[in-house]
């Protein structure tokens, strides 16, 4: 299981990998079958649990009349733009905090208070300031997703071995070279871990913001379906979001493996 089992250091053979892939797909099929059986068993009304076929039809209809691409595109645009801004600002702030004592003094208490806060409560405040459109939604995503990026960067940079820095400095590295060639690469596993926590948060917050503020987007569409008691629409939304969430989380851990191929701990537990 991803993130649950101890990392395999040696690559499994082709047969093992095919077997593993088959096992995974049979799980998804098993889940669908279970859903179908439950829906047909008559112990749930179609309103409580619509059958997988009707939900699939609904997804197909939304995909062919263009609703799904628009909604999905907007949700992903908001979540990913927010995530990218949060990643850049977060790593930048983290660097600043580790490089300057004044910044550390100023930001440390703010982060230690801000990180455990349920930032979503500030959503109405953000609406008050920025309105209901993309700026507000993306700002909310940034506000929520930035904290793991900051703390990941701080943890990573503070853990860089002093010997590495001393030798680089002895060899005449300038500040800029130290940053790009020593500090950031050496800290990249923890920075990646922070970002792997940030990404699902970005998606969660984008969806909540859409549900609350309405308009296009998967969250808005689900909320509308729910308020019109359109249970197929709600379940279609769940399936779509589940697939997107899975793809993003998976993509992030593939990216991690690719970026950190050179690093001894290439296969670190995915923080999500």
């Amino acid at each position: 299981m991803a993130g649950m089992s101890a990392p395999d250091t040696d690559t499994p053979g082709l047969a093992a990998r095919i077997g593993h892939g088959l096992a995974r797909w049979s799980l998804v099929i098993g889940l669908l079958l279970l859903w179908d059986i439950l829906a047909r068993s008559g112990s749930f009304t179609p309103f409580m649990l619509p059958s997988p076929e009707s939900v699939a039809q609904r997804i197909w209809r939304d995909a062919s009349n263009g609703d799904l691409p628009i909604n999905m595109g907007l949700t992903l645009y908001r979540a990913l733009t927010g995530f990218l801004i949060a990643a850049l600002l977060g790593v930048g702030t983290g660097l600043l905090i580790t490089r300057s004592a004044a910044a550390a003094w100023f930001f440390d208490p703010i982060i230690s208070v801000g990180f455990p806060m349920p930032k979503i409560t500030f959503l109405p405040v953000i609406v008050l300031w920025l309105g209901f459109y993309d700026t507000a939604k993306i700002s909310m995503v940034v506000f929520d997703a930035i904290f793991p990026a900051i703390t990941g960067t701080i943890v990573g940079i503070r853990a860089v071995e002093k010997e590495l820095l001393w030798s680089a400095r002895n060899l005449g590295a300038k500040e800029r070279e130290m940053l790009w060639q020593i500090l950031l690469p050496a800290a990249s596993p923890q920075i990646m871990t922070g970002l792997q926590v940030s990404l699902p948060i970005a998606l969660i917050v984008a969806i909540v913001a859409e549900m609350l503020m309405g308009g296009y987007g998967i969250g808005g569409a689900m909320q509308q379906a729910s308020s019109m008691a359109d249970s197929r629409g709600v379940f279609a939304g769940i399936v779509e979001i589940a697939v997107v969430g899975w793809v993003l989380v998976k993509g992030m851990s593939l990216l991690r493996r690719r970026l950190l191929m050179w690093h001894p701990e290439a296969e670190a537990p995915s923080g999500v």
Partner: protein, 246 residues
């Protein structure tokens, strides 16, 4: 003294807030002065609104988290302890874990309506998997030699589970619960803002929709503060639990 110096940045932020709002750089409704927010908070506390809505929220978080922790920990330890459970339940955990939990809000509303039940179910479902994974990882990492020695000294399987596996699962289980605690606040407030007739989230939405921004800020800051305090208390609690390890 040291502590005061550490908290100084927060004070600076508060003063900057007060300064901006008093000088009218932004309008008073967008950023009410902290003094007025304090007065509004006092008003809400005196009228009892804060307590009735707070009690509704506390019950939902409490009941939801309780279910999540009990079921989640049992599942996680069970899956680590008994292979068939792992084979059957593991895939479900894997499929549902990356699901953004906020997607469940409309479903639980569809199933159980606008009341307490839908929020409790939402929090229980949304917070269960981090606890399960913490318990699973913790229980799997329990030292094989400890298990073997306990077995060879004649401890039954259940005894080993209770005296060896469960305690060694504790650190990761507790950190899973910390994640669950954070998620529970997010789900609670989000679901109350979207579909509810009571609770802190509802109160925030209601006050905001009425254009009474001072009390709205008062409740927002209260919830933010409570989330922070809950996390700090939980950390203090885990430190106490692990006092024996030092």
């Amino acid at each position: 003294m040291n502590r005061a110096l550490r908290c100084l940045p927060l004070l600076i932020l508060a003063l900057a807030w007060e300064f901006i709002s008093r000088t009218g750089l932004v309008s008073g409704s967008a950023l009410p002065s902290l003094v007025k927010i304090g007065e509004a908070w006092w008003g809400l506390a005196r009228d009892g609104d804060l307590w009735t809505h707070g009690a509704a929220s506390a019950w939902r978080v409490g009941a939801g988290l309780f279910c999540a922790i009990v079921i989640g920990a049992a599942l996680g330890i069970g899956m680590a302890w008994w292979r068939p459970a792992d084979m059957v339940l593991g895939p479900f955990v894997e499929i549902f874990y990356p699901l953004p939990k906020s997607a469940l809000i409309p479903v639980t509303a569809l199933w159980l309506g606008f009341g307490d039940g839908s929020k409790i179910l939402l929090i229980a479902l949304g917070c269960m998997l981090p606890v399960t994974i913490g318990a699973y990882n913790g229980a799997r990492s329990s030292d094989r030699t400890l298990v073997w020695s306990a077995r060879s000294m004649g401890a039954g399987r259940l005894r080993v589970l209770r005296d060896v596996v469960a305690p060694s699962a504790l650190p990761e289980l507790l950190s899973g619960i910390r994640t669950a605690l954070a998620i529970s606040f997010v789900l609670l407030i989000a679901s109350e803002l979207i579909v509810a007739r009571s609770g802190f989230g509802y109160l925030i939405g209601f006050l905001g929709a009425n254009g009474t921004y001072e009390p709205m800020f008062a409740v927002v800051l209260t919830v933010a503060f409570l989330g922070f305090v809950a996390d700090r208390l939980y950390q203090a609690f885990t430190r106490r639990v692990f006092a024996w390890r030092e």
